[in-house]
Amino acid sequence: MISVRIQKQFAAAPGSAAFTLDLEFTAGAGVTVLFGPSGSGKTLTLECIAGFLRPGAGRIELDGRLLFDGASGVCLPPRERQCGYVFQNYALFPHMSLRANLGFAAERLPRLERHRKVQEMLERFHLEDVAGRFPHELSGGQRQRGSVARALLAAPRMVLLDEPARGLDAPLREELHEVIREVREGFQLPVVLVTHDLEECFALGDHMHVVRDGRIVQSGTPESIVEQPASLDVARLLGVYDLFPAEVRSLDPGARTSRLRMGEHELSAPYLPGKFKGDHVWVYVLPERVKAAPREGQRAGANQIPATLARTIELPRGIRLEFTNGLRAEVPREEFAAMASTREWLIEIPPGELRAL
């Protein structure tokens, strides 16, 4: 269990504006994801926890042990913090074999036990066949597993991972996720992972904090955050929605519905607590939940908007249609093949999928 509260000011420097890190969270066993754009302070947070960087104020406590306390001036050096750190480039020592790298992490142990632990860890991460190789002779996946194994051999009380999947191709990423799940299940440690990849949050995150400009702007499970972003900012950071301005035309608390005006169209939506008639709101919809069909001269029905196709984008699992009014929809590939020549479409947003901020 780790609890973190840190504040640190960074003065403006050439090439970077002044920046304030000010965040607070706790993390138990399981994977906690810090999600945010680059420059939001995620990595700085990890560096403060690991002890590479001294916060200006705050308090960091790991399993009841004080790592940092601004008020009393406690600041343990990294080697006493028992925080495993997996670097983006893995940082395996290039002049040592993989076995020696692992041994380095276990040197506090007597020789025989060290040997046994290293062997155990090599087997656990399927590295026994390449233990004698040097880092530059290992594959990306082996380096990745080696660096996690090395971090775990130092018997840490938590593991910090700094964008471990950055720059990896899809199979390696999948492999890495397996390794991190293995750590989560096999070691019962708090794992704090930094990423700017929302899919990774879903693949690994038990809990997620959205970080922006040095602050946590929303916390929750990845599912709950995508279902209900707390602000327009968060919605934009997640980057998965279509966002439109709209005006509240009417609200019916009894039926739990509302009417929204988007451009010249009026649509039904769920009730919007805290909003009033005439309020300007931002509507967000997930493109994969928007339905689109050829118009074929029909009039627009309930929650349907006529739109002209602007362009199509091939996606791995279907076709994304982009319309001149800014709406987007996704349709399966086979379905689209039959109507590829259609220009005029009817877009339907099911009332339940129409949310507003």
Partner: protein, 222 residues
């Protein structure tokens, strides 16, 4: 031809000993300058650079002030060993250290600083003390560059003239190093001896430079 090779032999001995001293003291200073922040770091940095830019005679003068027969160090030396330090080959070693250590410190510091900090950070999170980190990670990773720096320091120690002549003098067979001997030979019109020593020193310096460049190229390729 009857040629006196003693100056070359003396210079090698002086350079070897001074390189040993420079390496031990220089690595320590380079480590301090590269890794620690402390009061007076900039002053120390300037102090170790100064010998690179001062005229050797000025360095020699300072050294004379410190180890001369009238200084407290000179007196203590004389009291212990029964003979003055100045105008001995040991004084030539000190001169060579003063002449060559700054170069070694500069290059060693650059070599230590060029080691990717993530390796050092990784070692720290794995529980390594600063000493273990230095000996097991930083030093091996910078070893080729440091070895190259040691080679250059040796070459520079071999070639010192100004400081040596100030504190060790020009006593043939005792303190006459190769640089001084060449000067002496030219002054006294002994062209053959001068040529032989010049060629020998040039060949050695060239060899060391070639080795140092190869070491640094291989370090860069890692």
């Amino acid at each position: 031809m009857d040629l006196d090779w003693f100056p070359l032999w003396l210079s090698m001995r002086v350079a070897a000993l001074s390189t040993l001293i420079s390496t031990v003291a220089g690595l320590w200073l380079a480590y301090l300058l590269a890794n620690r922040t402390f009061r007076g770091r900039d002053a120390l940095d300037a102090a170790v650079t100064l010998p690179l830019v001062l005229p050797p005679t000025v360095l020699g003068y300072y050294l004379l002030v410190v180890i001369g027969r009238e200084s407290w160090f000179g007196r203590a030396w004389e009291a212990v060993w029964g003979a003055p330090l100045v105008f001995t080959w040991q004084a030539a070693v000190l001169a060579a250290v003063l002449h060559s250590a700054p170069l070694l410190i500069k290059s060693a510091r650059a070599a230590l600083e060029s080691v990717d900090h993530d390796y050092e950070r990784a070692a720290r999170t794995l529980g390594a003390s600063e000493w273990r980190l230095f000996v097991r990670v930083t030093l091996p990773l910078a070893s080729r560059s440091i070895l190259a720096a040691v080679g250059l320091a040796f070459a520079r120690a071999l070639g010192d003239f100004g400081v040596t002549i100030m504190v060790a003098g020009n006593i043939p067979g005792r303190t006459q190093t190769v640089a001084v001997a060449i000067y002496d030979a030219v002054e006294s019109g002994n062209g053959a001896a001068a040529r032989a020593l010049v060629l020998a020193v040039s060949a050695m310096a060239l060899g060391i430079l070639w080795l140092a460049n190869r070491l640094q190229a291989r370090q860069a390729a890692r």
